[in-house]
């Protein structure tokens, strides 16, 4: 069984399942598109400067902005695979555990009996890669239980499983 990368605030004795590795691709694509947009904007002064329209603009500043964007993109590229490996979930008898984050780590437990409804969504990019996102809602707005990058079949199975267990263990508010 594949195991998700572990870190120090994980509860002991719980085996977290990792999400799909394709989430890395999805996040890469999002990051690259975002970076290209910002790059296009920050490149305007550089083009103007190089073409001589705006010769007075300082050359170092014209180069600096796009370089920063590229550096941030590279940093994200390094980080994304680790971030995706850090996401994990575990189904226990009474509750579902979700965890994520490297720098800012979090672990969350959502009891089946407290679930009000379960959302399964699929964006265009996710559909291309066959992924979906599952979002659990309780009566509390603080429950931000979002699980990205599940394979579509696994998301469907999890949703059915959660609904069935939720009904079996349903408690009032």
């Amino acid at each position: 069984m594949p195991k998700s990368q572990s870190h120090s605030i994980d509860p002991e004795g719980v085996v977290f399942l990792p999400v799909s590795g394709k989430l890395v691709i999805a996040r890469f694509i999002t990051a690259v598109i975002g970076a290209l947009l910002v790059l296009a904007i920050t490149a305007v002064p550089l083009i103007l400067h190089r073409s001589g329209v705006w010769a007075g603009y300082p050359a170092w500043l014209a180069w600096l902005a796009p370089i920063i964007v590229v550096v941030i993109l590279l940093w994200e590229m390094i980080l994304i695979p680790r971030q995706v490996r850090a996401i994990g979930y575990a189904e226990r008898d009474d509750d579902l555990l979700i965890r994520g984050g490297i720098m800012f780590r979090r672990v969350m437990v959502v009891p089946y009996g407290r679930m009000q409804y379960v959302d399964v969504t699929m964006g265009p990019l996710e559909r291309m890669l066959g992924l979906s996102t599952i979002h659990l809602h309780t009566a509390s707005p603080g429950t931000n239980a979002l699980l990205n990058g599940l394979p579509a079949a696994e998301a469907g199975r999890l949703r059915e499983q959660l609904s069935a267990r939720g009904e079996a263990k349903l408690a009032g508010l």
Binding site: E12, M103, R106, M108, V109, V110, P111, A139, A171, L173
Partner: protein
Amino acid sequence: MSEQFFQEQPFRTDAPEQWHRVHPVSPLVRGWVAVVAVMFVFGRNSLDSIFSGDGIEGALPTPGGMAFLIMVLVVAASAVIFGLAFFLSWRFTRYQVTDDHVHINSGVVFRQQRRARIDRVQAIDVVQPLLARAFGLAELKFDVADGGKSAMRLSFLKLAEAKRLRAAILARAAGLSVDPLAPTEVAEAPESHVLALKPARIIGAAVFSGTTVTALLVVGAVVVATVWSGELGILVAAVPLFIGLAASYWKAITGDFNFRIALSPDGIRLHYGLLETRAQTIPPGRIQAVGISQGPMWRPFGWYKVHVNVAGYGADSSDHGSRTVMLPAGTLAEVMAVLGLVFPDPGVENPFEVFTAGLKGPGNREGFVHSPPSARWLDPFAWRYNAFRATQTALLCRHGRIVRRLQVVPHERTQSLGLHQGPLMAVLGLASFELHSTVGPIRPLVRHMSVANSLALFNEQAARAATARRIHRDEKWLASAAPQELPEETENGD
């Protein structure tokens, strides 16, 4: 029975085709501000035109008479328009209380049909604005746990009728409709007095509040500015500020005036208000979390404020947020009395000592576990105050040194749990524990515990919440519990 008066009659739930109307005066009570505003604007304009016409032209009777006629016509027209609008609004508002649901239909152009499941009713208020009190009317307002959407209102009913409906809805919500001889009859549950706050306390609480700090700052700034510049215009310009401050004092004092708490079998009942009075009923087990707080100005007096989370009150800020206040300013003994109502079973042998340690801190007396010394870097003052303690039935979270807070969440009301760790906390070996409750003023959080302690808390709390949920499965709190209460109640109600 049949010869007693109206309010003594037993309540009967309605058949599907049976509907009731609210009191005919209600649209006026609700819309009088609009009427007065229109009257004022038109009236002033017409009066102006009469007087200015008289003054300038000198031809006394004709223009003055014309203006008067126009004024009468305007008044008559607005009376007809308002009258018609009010009549239609009354005519199209109907309600019905069946065994399982409350239905309210309203709206002339945009029809609205609302239906609430009675067993999901979280709390009921009986509200009497000033004008409604003059007519002996009351508004019935009840919250359903539906993620903070607006509450359902029935405005206005006769006070006795509103109370009867409240009793009936609460009794159904409690699952009390089990009398086989008269399955649709309900008697109103009697109240027993718990505590009342004296006017001096309410005024004192308002005087020693954040408003006063703001007021002093504002007055100081205005005086300094006036003296420094020598311009009296600044004083005049600050008048709206003073009016705003006075209004917030006024609201704080009139809102909580005559605050008293009573206990009735259908729940905890809070009465308060000077001009607009409100009787708020929270059925047992509907309180999701309790927060007790004390600012530095209240410490010499030993006063505390008690807030509650009730599902359904959540995002409803229409009533200046006072609905979530369980006790505006109480002494330690009064706070304990309120906690006794909210949590009849505190889950420890010495609840007074434990809760006092939770309110006062610091350190780890009475089983409280506070942050490790490494948390000093993040909370230099409060690290020995930030602590938690789990009892058999609830989790107590204490924090803050300047403003002291204690949050109490019963295990069976835990929605979900979270554990967080930022980079700095990772270096110091800390983690924060968060407990998610329903929407409300209380967001329970245990900050900066050692990783081992917070992990243990996380695991144990998940297990405790699961166990508590299995025990407290039932929403209808009277159906299973205490059948010996019922005969007493019907005796008192007769």
